[in-house]
């Protein structure tokens, strides 16, 4: 029974335009480097092509090396990789009137877990300076940096804590967003509400991109940003109804249904409500900052456990330099598989055919990514000129249980052991916005 071997493998192997991925990567990497070299002397502000059309964008060149036994994390291995997180984005905005504008963001990405294409496409209507309505393909604002996750220049690390930012189920949605911002006395406030849906061919669980027929309907949520002086509090709640079929579970689920084990088949179904709660707190002054974010994901899906993740960070500004230290943690409840097939495992002679099915079921269940990971990151950022920064991050990562999903064994069928699921990730990066 080989259903399971694809469990933790990444999906996309063909780049956009149908080019083999390796070829696409090389082309994109050269494009990024060429652009990077060509523009250093150019003005750093966004280009106003005409009075109505404005083009801005950003570029990231990120190199990484993972020191870990036979594992990869977020696409990094024990060899220098430049393509996992390097990207280029071009964002034209066309102002139809003073109040109405259309924005598209095209993203060229060379990482194995992502595809290039239109990441944002929306219309914005500014009713006044307080109310704003957006409609189209938008980013899911689960956390503080979720909707600027590709804009490395907007945050201090090279990779925001993957316990939160790589664990997200989906990065975008289609629908609308209403935003209100104002200030009251010494308080500032921004409240945003959204409604929409997500249909796509993958979901992210435990840092792993999984092939899926993903449908999240009736999705709604809000996020509130409250500021006072140097403090900022962010509260967010998002919920939706999942009707998702995970590719690697489908053959097994069908086999279980056909054999009459509906209870076991049901434990592999991804149907039901899903809610994400998050709280973020930030303190910042001229010489440093402290920040924390906490998130809890609750689902009624048997195999997708309730997960709690958070990070705490502190940073210090020294001239053009930022030094920061982050501690991040993700814990989860691992749900139990159905025991209806247990007798066939205990005594395979009852029915050898079903014993094989039962073995496949338990094997697969054990390998569904659950996302338990602890990490410490020490990093530095140097803002060496306007709109550009160089970064260096060193992260020590440790999974809290086997098959958490972050560490991918070189041999997908190898038995994982949490004790060896550790590694040190070294990353350097160049960030540019224009």
């Amino acid at each position: 029974m080989k259903i399971t071997s694809s469990c933790v493998q990444r999906v996309s192997k063909v780049g956009p335009l149908g080019l083999p991925e390796a070829c696409h990567r090389t082309r994109l990497a050269s494009l990024i480097v060429a652009l990077g070299c060509g523009v250093v002397s150019v003005a750093s502000e966004s280009l106003e092509v005409t009075d109505d059309l404005e083009v801005s964008g950003f570029v990231r060149v990120i190199g990484g090396y993972l020191n870990s036994d036979d594992n990869s994390v977020d696409g990094y291995r024990d060899g220098i990789s430049l393509h996992q997180q390097s990207l280029i984005a071009i964002q034209p905005t066309y102002h139809v009137t003073d109040q109405l504008s259309g924005t598209v963001q095209w993203l060229g990405h060379s990482g194995s877990g992502r595809e290039s294409g239109i990441e944002w496409a929306y219309l914005t209507y500014d009713l006044d300076d307080q109310w704003q309505i957006k409609a189209g393909k938008l980013r899911m604002p689960f956390f503080y940096y979720s909707d600027s996750i590709d804009v490395g220049y907007s945050y201090p690390w090279i990779s925001p804590p993957m316990q939160l930012y790589n664990n997200k189920l989906f990065p975008t949605f289609e629908g609308g967003n209403v935003s209100y911002s104002s200030s009251f006395g010494s308080y500032s406030l921004r409240l945003e509400g959204l409604y929409g849906y997500y249909n796509n061919d993958y979901v992210m669980i435990g840092g792993t991109r999984l092939d899926a027929e993903a449908h999240f309907d009736d999705m709604y949520g809000f996020n509130l940003n409250l500021g006072r002086g140097n403090y900022n509090l962010r509260l967010a709640y998002h919920t939706g109804f999942s009707q998702t079929s995970l590719g690697f579970l489908k053959p097994l689920k069908t086999a279980l249904e056909q054999a009459g084990f509906s209870e076991s088949a049901e434990t592999l179904a991804a149907t039901g409500p899903m809610s994400v709660y998050s709280v973020g707190l930030n303190y910042e002054n001229f010489s440093g900052f402290m920040r924390g974010e906490w998130v809890r994901t609750v689902t009624e899906l048997d195999f997708s456990p309730t997960q709690t993740s958070y990070y705490l960070m502190a940073g210090k500004y020294v001239g053009d330099w930022t030094l920061h230290l982050t501690f991040a943690c993700a814990e989860n409840t691992r749900t139990r598989p159905s025991d209806e097939l247990q007798p066939f495992v205990e005594d395979p002679t009852i029915n050898p055919g079903l014993a094989q099915l039962a073995a496949g079921y338990y094997y697969t269940y054990d390998r569904i990514p659950t996302g338990g990971l602890n990490s410490v990151t020490l990093g530095t950022r140097w803002d060496f000129r306007a709109n550009m920064a160089l970064k260096l991050d060193v992260s020590y990562l440790k999974e809290t249980s086997p098959y958490s999903g972050f560490f991918i064994s070189r041999d997908a069928d190898a038995q994982q052991n949490a004790d060896t699921q550790t590694g040190t990730l070294y990353q350097v990066g160049w960030e540019w916005v224009f």
């Binding site: 502000e45 801005s56 950003f58 964002q91 963001q105 944002w120 300076d129 307080q130 704003q132 957006k134 980013r139 604002p141 940096y145 909707d147 600027s148 590709d150 804009v151 220049y153 907007s154 945050y155 935003s179 911002s181 104002s182 200030s183 010494s186 500032s188 406030l189 921004r190 500021g227 002086g229 403090y231 707190l281 303190y283 910042e284 002054n285 001229f286 010489s287 440093g288 402290m290 924390g292 906490w294 705490l312 960070m313 502190a314 940073g315 210090k316 500004y317 053009d320 930022t322 230290l325 501690f327 943690c329 814990e331 602890n374 410490v376 803002d383 306007a386 709109n387 920064a389 916005v433």
Partner: protein, 155 residues
């Protein structure tokens, strides 16, 4: 600030994470540096409209948060001394941090950063011509009659 840390750490499962979280507490924040010279925040308002803003209101306004008055902020380019003083004393953030804040605002489609002017003279000229605009200059700069000082930061 310590309250913030204690609040956060008290909610964490200490078993795995607590010891390291305490390390963060050892990073202490130093006192704020300041640049000299009085700054004036000037606005082009109607002749009969008189307002004064608090430091907090000025900060919010220049960070893209409306304060109830219909005002459009404009700023000086990063090589101006008055901008450095304004960043330090009113916004309370360094230049690079302000730029990264605006990158986030811009690329999430929320707000666009204020228009920039190369010199105080150019900024004053624009504010003078544009009703509802608001900017900052150093106190030594001569102001035209139709501009109103809505906030003064004296050091």
């Amino acid at each position: 600030m310590m309250t913030f840390l204690i609040f956060l750490t008290s909610r964490m499962p200490v078993r795995r994470c607590g010891g390291l979280a305490l390390l963060l507490a050892s990073v202490l924040l130093a006192p704020v540096a300041s640049a000299d010279g009085t700054l004036l925040v000037i606005a082009n308002l109607g002749a009969d409209q008189k307002i004064t803003l608090s430091r907090e209101q000025v900060r919010n306004l220049f960070m893209g948060i409306p304060v109830g008055e219909s005002l459009t902020p404009v700023v000086l380019t990063a090589d101006n001394k008055a901008r450095a003083g304004f960043n330090t004393r009113v916004i309370g953030m360094a230049e690079a941090r302000i730029q990264s804040y605006w990158a986030q605002m811009k690329f999430t489609g929320r707000k666009t950063p204020p228009a920039e002017f190369r010199s105080e003279a150019e900024l004053i000229e624009f504010v003078q011509k544009t009703p509802g605009s608001i900017g900052y200059v150093s106190a030594s700069t001569k102001l035209p009659d139709n501009l109103q000082v809505v906030y003064e930061d004296a050091r």
